[in-house]
Symmetry: C2
Subunit: 224 residues, 2 copies
């Protein structure tokens, strides 16, 4: 995989949004797209879009914009999903199951390869065609199978122990839904912490700023 010069997290976070829009436009039968249109999708400027792509190569041309098919291929390669990634889900309760069933793994070249739980009533049943194994088999499985990404949906109390084990066994990426902050060696295992409550709280802030929501409650007195 090509290593790129260090780009900002904001640039990385815009890549999937570009990709989704590129795919929509391809599905609409379009042939090319301007940086202005891509800017609209990510709520940014044309020059920001051009700067984002210039981190990775020489894309687009003035007046024409970007050839969609080539840009689709390029963005997939930049993100790294031109090659398949093996995924395991650790914790097959409602959230783990929902994620696996809800997300379009195949479309982005992700392959669910294994699932683990501790609940005897779940072991042996299947999730998206994959048999759920007991978590005691995790080490043995990882010794003989390459897993690139683990979806961590175990209870918060188990998160740190399981994450340490995964990192120790060489799993390079953890998608962490446990609400536990994980401190792993970032040169060995990258972690994406998902805290959905943060998102709900941001939404609540915006809701309370709507013009018709002026309840005129006082703020607590200034804090010293």
């Amino acid at each position: 995989m090509k290593q790129f010069r260090k780009v900002s997290d904001n640039t990385v976070n815009r890549l999937p949004k570009y990709l989704r829009h590129i795919q929509e436009e391809l599905n609409n039968g379009k042939d090319h797209i301007s940086s202005a249109m891509l800017a609209e999708v990510v709520g940014s400027t044309s020059s920001q879009v051009r700067q984002d792509f210039s981190n990775f190569g020489n894309y687009g041309s003035q007046g024409y914009g970007y050839h969609l098919k080539s840009l689709d291929e390029a963005v997939r390669t930049i993100i790294g999903i031109h090659v398949p990634h093996h995924v395991a889900v650790i914790g097959t309760g409602c959230l783990g199951r929902a994620l696996v069933e809800h997300l379009e793994f195949q479309k982005y070249n992700f392959q669910l390869c294994a699932a683990f739980d501790i609940d005897p009533s779940l072991i042996g049943s299947s999730i998206n065609g994959v048999t759920i194994r007991h978590v005691s088999e995790l080490s043995e499985y990882l010794e003989t199978n390459e897993i690139h990404i683990c979806i961590l949906t175990v209870p918060k109390s188990a998160a740190k122990v399981v994450a340490q084990k995964l990192s120790g066994m060489g799993v390079p990426a953890i998608w962490n839904f446990t609400n536990e902050t994980l401190n792993l060696n970032p040169q060995k295992t990258v972690v994406q912490n998902i805290n959905l409550m943060d998102s709900l709280l941001s939404l609540t802030y915006h809701l309370e700023q709507l013009p018709n929501r002026q309840r005129d409650l006082p703020l607590p007195s200034d804090v010293e």
Copy 2:
């Protein structure tokens, strides 16, 4: 509710992170906190932290920092969760159920009041103590009950129609998990679009940048 001067989305998105850390420190028996410590939590600088809070009032003092209990109360009031919010979940499949069961609603003053689905096998059963109603009862319910936030977990194909209905009935906030982009009047209904695949793709990018992942595959040739 007090209307604040317009602050950036980045500031709004940091508020829940501040709140979580304030609560952790309170649970650890701490009394006050410095802007430097809060900065570390959100990956920013002390001056950014001070600037964030100065948008909302006169908080903290030099040398002492912030009094945790007062700051907790202030941030709750700024976000708006010092008052309860009524939540309804529309679509009680695996994802809707997982969200409702996974998130600590009570801790943040959210109250699940209603649940709707279209699947006859689900109607009448309950989700977190709330009876699931048929979606045909939605309008009547909203006429007589105030719902502040709808969690939208219906299939993508139904998202636009349901969202239009909710906005038309005066629901001021939609937490949108349908992967359908919603175009509603932002003066009437605010929308938070959650696209979990974006997060997984960002994680994949970072995974492929790890030092031991240099597969040396070529990038597609530059795109014109």
